[in-house]
Each structure stands twice: as C-alpha cells, then as structure tokens.
C-alpha cells in the first residue's frame, strides 16, 4: 500500500433518483495520513457526508459508487462485500453523527449500546466488555459511569449523548474516526467541550479524524489539513494555514470573506457569494462554481479545470491558476 491511511482516487458516486441521475461525487480524490485531522468543509449537498459514508461502505440506496477507488488501511473498500465490511466498520473505522438524539437507540441502555460494539469485534466476555464500557465513559469525561451505563439515551443531555457516541466509536480503538457535523446540533459552550475532547482523545489514542462541518471556525482550531468541497468536487485542499491565509480558489476566498468576525472593531459590510447553490440535477458543464464566480471566464463555463499544484500539499482546481494554459493562449479571459 502507500503512506496514506485513506486514499480516495477519482471517486464518482451517483444517486439514481426518479428525477434523474444526481452526480453527488464527481471525481473526488482525498487522502488522510495516520494520526492526521482532515477537515471537510462545504455547504449542504456539496458531497462531504456522502464521501465519508462511502468510505465506510454506507452509501444509501439509490446511490452507487460508479467509478474510482477507495482505499482504507490496506482494504480496497469499493471491492469488498458487505460481510467483509462489517468486520471493519466500528472496528478500524467508526463514525459519529450530527444528531446524537437520533443516532442512539432509545430502547436500549447506554451500556448495552457501548458493549455491543465491543462484543462484536473482540473476544471479550460480557463482564470484560462492561469493564471496558466503564473505562470508555470515564475516558470521554462522563462522571458516575456505573449509573450512566444503566440509563437510556433520553435521560442524558445533548452534549452527554454525543460523548456516549464518541465512546461507542472509540470502543475498538479505530484507526480512523469520521465525525459528521459532530457539534452542529449542540450549543456553543457544549461544542467547545466536545471539540476539546476529540482533540484530546486523538492525542491520546493516535487515530486519524475526518471532521465534516460547514463551520469554518470549527476547522480552524482543530484540523491539520482542510478539503473544501463544492457541488460534488474537492475544489481546494491544503494545510489549515494555507487555506485560511493563502486561499487560492475563488469559492474558498468567498467563503472566508462572507463570515462575520466577532473581534472586528469597525462595522464592515459582509461580502456575500452571490447567486444560489447548484441544482445537482442539472449541474453546470464546466467548473460548478463558475455561475457564482466573480472572475468567471469563458473556459470556466465549458471545461472543468485540473488541479494546480501550489506546493506543500496545496492543490486547487481553478483556471485562474493554470498559468501554462494562459501563456499558450488556450484560455481567454
């Protein structure tokens, strides 16, 4: 294999709906190294969750991976059977969802749900699994673990439930934790607790994390690298600093300018990205962002740009960066 824990190459994934084919992922390539935190940011429908789910073999009907390769920890995910997938899921890779209210089963106790993962993937007997569950709850910062293990999800607060979700996800010490908008449903003060916990656990256990969010503030403080997605495409990837301080794609730039900053002394008018999100049933032919882009050129409407290597793992797909083509006169403004 290679140096990457996750290596997604040119993945294409479509949902075959009655209204037509929705190309949810259109040539997506992503990598995650061991122990790295990758943030995926994008708007709703940009394909960030779909990418992560397909990595776990959890693409929902009527969706299907129709091209490309997904490698994770030496497994060729899109070639595996459901039976093989089950051995990996919850063991080598786990996921925590946005809404802790609905992702826990209301009719089983917390203890039951944590122990399920342990009993399924390890040789531990019930007693050992219970011990491990206690240990996990302590690890995620829940007091009185014995009492909590006997409680049902509705007896816990939102923040507490998300901690339980994390405990379940970490039960088998996975190599990769996928966090799909883990704090979106939580209040800011609770969000700060959960993010802090996730980073602390990462440092302790050494797993890699894919953090999916639409909040640029959340990725700024937690991620090593960021992938920006728009309409089923990764439009730019780079280190957190590169994305924030040297954004090169027009969408990334626009996104950064459109959020109000709390600690700003004067009142500046926000600079919004004009236009409406892409209709995924009828995406534009060229660059998906072209219809909303201020620097849109003729070629942008026709052909999707290639990635330009900007050094230090920083890639961006924008015609403006393709200097070679400019010089040859192939691209006209």
């Amino acid at each position: 294999m290679n140096e990457y824990l996750v290596d997604i190459r040119n993945e294409r994934l479509s949902f075959f709906t009655p209204a037509g084919e929705v190309k949810s992922l259109n040539d997506v390539s992503l990598t995650v190294r061991e122990g790295e935190v990758l943030g995926i940011v994008g708007e709703s429908g940009s394909g960030k969750s779909v990418t992560a789910y397909s990595l776990m073999g959890l693409t929902a009907h009527p969706g299907r991976v129709i091209g490309g390769d997904i490698y994770f920890n030496g497994h060729h995910i899109n070639m595996m059977t459901e039976r093989e997938m089950r051995k990996i899921r919850g063991n080598e890779v786990s996921i925590i969802f946005q809404d802790p209210m609905t992702s826990l089963n209301p009719v089983y106790t917390i203890g039951n749900q944590i122990m399920e993962a342990i009993l399924l993937h390890t040789d531990k007997n019930k007693k050992q699994a219970y011990e491990r569950a206690r240990e996990l709850l302590t690890l995620v910062g829940i007091n009185e673990p014995d009492k909590r293990l006997k409680q049902y999800p509705h007896e816990l607060s939102g923040g507490m439930r998300q901690r339980v979700m994390i405990a379940i996800a970490l039960a088998c010490e996975p190599k990769l934790l996928i966090a799909d908008e883990p704090t979106t449903a939580l209040d800011v003060t609770i969000q700060a607790q959960i993010l802090e916990l996730m980073i602390e656990l990462k440092n302790k256990l050494g797993m890699a994390i894919i953090l999916i969010t639409h909040d640029l503030g959340v990725v700024a403080g937690t991620c090593d690298r960021i992938a920006v997605m728009y309409a089923g495409k990764v439009v730019e990837t780079g280190t957190t600093d590169d994305i924030f301080y040297h954004p090169s794609h027009e969408y990334t730039k626009g996104l950064l300018l459109s959020v109000p900053k709390l600690k700003e002394l004067e009142h500046k008018k926000l600079i919004p990205i004009e236009g409406q999100p892409v209709d995924m049933l009828n995406p534009p032919a060229g660059c998906p962002f072209a219809p909303r882009c201020n620097s849109c050129m003729k070629i942008c409407l026709r052909t999707m740009p290639e990635y330009t290597d900007l050094g230090k793992d920083h890639y961006s797909a924008c015609w403006l960066l393709d200097k070679a083509k400019f010089e040859k006169g192939e691209v006209q403004a």
Binding site: V188, A192, G217, G221, F244, S258, V259, P277
Partner: protein
C-alpha cells in the same frame, strides 16, 4: 439615531405548565422570567443565548403570539399587553427561523405575500395587489415570475426571502427576526444579513434580532442582550459587549465561539464551561448560572443578583462584577 423607545417590555414573564413526574403533579417552566428591555426606533437589538434560554419565547411573547403570564408590553409608548392586536400587526411583524416550515406549501409565493395585503385591506383592486406583490418580491431580490411558483421550488435562501417579503407586506416599523439565518448555508447567510441591513436603511426598520450565533448578532446589532435560562444576564452596546463583557457567562460564551482564524484559535485562552445547562423546570436557586460559574460562592446560591446598570448603558446581573474585572 433618535433615542426614542419604539418597543419596550417590562418584567415580562412567560410560564408554561408542564406535567411533572407524579399523576397530579404540575410543574412550571419559567421560559422567560422577569425580563425588561427596550428597542429604540431604527436600531437593532440582538438577543443571544443557548437553546432553551428563552430568546425565541421572548420574541413571540413580545408580539403576543403567546400571551404573557405577567409583565407589560409597550409599543410607541402605548400599553398593548391587553390591547386588540390587529392594528399593531401592521406595525410589528416576524420572520421565522425555518423557511421550510413557515411557508404554506399549498400557496403560491404571490398568495403567501398577498395574504397580509388582503387581511389588512391594503390594495383596492387586483391590479394594485399584484403590483404590490411584485414590488415586495423585487425588494427582497426575487422577480415577478417567482410569484406564481410554490415554496418547494425555491432554495432555502430564496424561501427566507419570501418570508421577509411577507413580513414587509404590511409596511411594518418593527420586525422580530427569529433566527432568520441559522437554517441557511454559509454562503447564503451573508446575502440575507446584508439584505436585512439594506432594508433597514431603506425603510427605517427596527429589528429585534434573535440568534445563537454571536458573531452574526454582533455584526448586525447596535446593542446586544444575552439570555441564560430565561433571564437577561447582560445587555450593552455590541462593541462594549464583545470587547468588555462583564458577566462570566457572556465571557465564556464569547471564548467558546470558534474563530475562523487558525492562529487566533491556537493561541486563544478558552474558558471551557463545565457541565450542561440545567433544566428550566428546576433552575438553580439564586443566580441561575452559578452551577457552571467559576466565580460562584455561597451568596450566589442564596441571593439572586439584580440586573443593574454597571456603567452607562451597560447592564449586568452578577454579584462578582469586581472580581470578574
């Protein structure tokens, strides 16, 4: 800005009764408990707080969409706590949080906006009504052909524009904006925020802007009130509040906001609050924030802090203002 109070609430209370654990047991949730503030004409007052703190209930009670349990609501100096609301509905409007749930799916956008025109008899004939609808739609950045479409044909941002057009249909003076952007995508949020600002300039509107996102509230508001468990804990000019907050809750709220700047967030000293917001059915005695407050002592448990003016225009409710400084 002229400092004329347009809307004022005094000791507003909104209690909901809920059934308790026992069969005959009745419990009371004090969703809004003794809240007083005013909004000056032409200004934007922001209201922030976490879920369940009573900010939405305050907004709705103020419009008497829910009748207040106690307290007084004044509009333009007149007590409207028990008044007939129809004439005031023309002056006070609301934009709701969820643009998917707040528009009737069986009505065209034109009819949604036109309904208010019909109720208040603002158009003499069909032509006038149609012109007015088109005028309103163009005001919010939509065009005349949108009038014949149904809400499901629009994106979230466009639907929120329809919601705003509906609120503007009666030419109101005052609009309660109840989390109007939290259901929208980041790139669309800025569009809607800018539109609120432009409309305010153009029409001299007064807003009560309710949201949980302090960065957005600070951007749009002149003054900000912070709520916690049904109480206002701090209220000040928006710059004063973000840079010189007094109340420990406001401070932790500000420090908990993730900053979209890697260097700042790496070096930031976070005050991470421990624990969860207590249940409003059974709030802590004394100061309601004391269970999570780093400064709490015996006095906080026994005595409820008074909401008082600390410096000019800056109000806070805390026993330990000197220590926090």
């Amino acid at each position: 800005m002229e400092n004329k109070k347009l809307v004022e609430v005094q000791n507003l209370k909104q209690y909901f009764s809920v059934s308790g654990g026992g069969f005959f047991e009745k419990k009371v949730v004090k969703a809004v408990d003794d809240v007083s503030f005013y909004v000056n004409k032409g200004e934007t007052l922001g209201l922030v707080g976490e879920s369940g703190c009573g900010k939405t209930t305050t907004g709705r009670t103020l419009l008497r969409l829910i009748e207040p349990t106690d307290g007084k609501i004044l509009y333009d100096g007149k007590d409207i706590t028990h008044a007939k609301m129809l004439p005031y509905r023309r002056k006070m409007q609301i934009v709701f949080q969820d643009p998917y749930a707040s528009l009737d799916p069986r009505m065209t956008v034109g009819d949604i906006v036109g309904e208010a025109i019909d109720i208040h008899k603002l158009a003499a004939n069909g032509n006038q009504r149609r012109d007015r609808i088109i005028e309103l739609l163009s005001l919010v950045g939509l065009n005349s052909e949108h009038a014949n479409r149904y809400p499901h044909e629009f994106s979230g941002g466009q639907r929120q524009r329809v919601g705003i057009a509906r609120a503007l249909a009666v030419n109101p003076e005052f609009i309660v904006c109840d989390e109007p952007i939290s259901a929208l995508d980041v790139s669309i949020q800025a569009q809607v925020v800018n539109m609120f600002e432009e409309l305010q300039e153009k029409m001299g509107l007064t807003y009560l802007f309710i949201a949980h996102n302090l960065s957005v509230v600070k951007h749009i508001s002149n003054r900000i009130g912070v709520m916690y468990l049904g109480k206002l804990v701090e209220l000040a000019d928006s710059y004063e509040l973000t840079f010189h907050s007094i109340h420990p809750y406001t401070r932790s709220l500000i420090s908990a906001i993730p900053v979209a700047d890697p260097e700042t967030s790496r070096s930031a000293q976070r005050i991470v609050l421990q624990g969860d917001v207590p249940s409003p059915v059974n709030p802590p005695s004394g100061c309601r924030f004391r269970t999570r407050c780093p400064y709490a002592d015996q006095r906080c448990a026994e005595e409820e802090p008074e909401f008082r003016e600390v410096s000019s225009g800056h109000y806070a409710a805390c026993h330990h203002i000197d220590k926090v400084k």
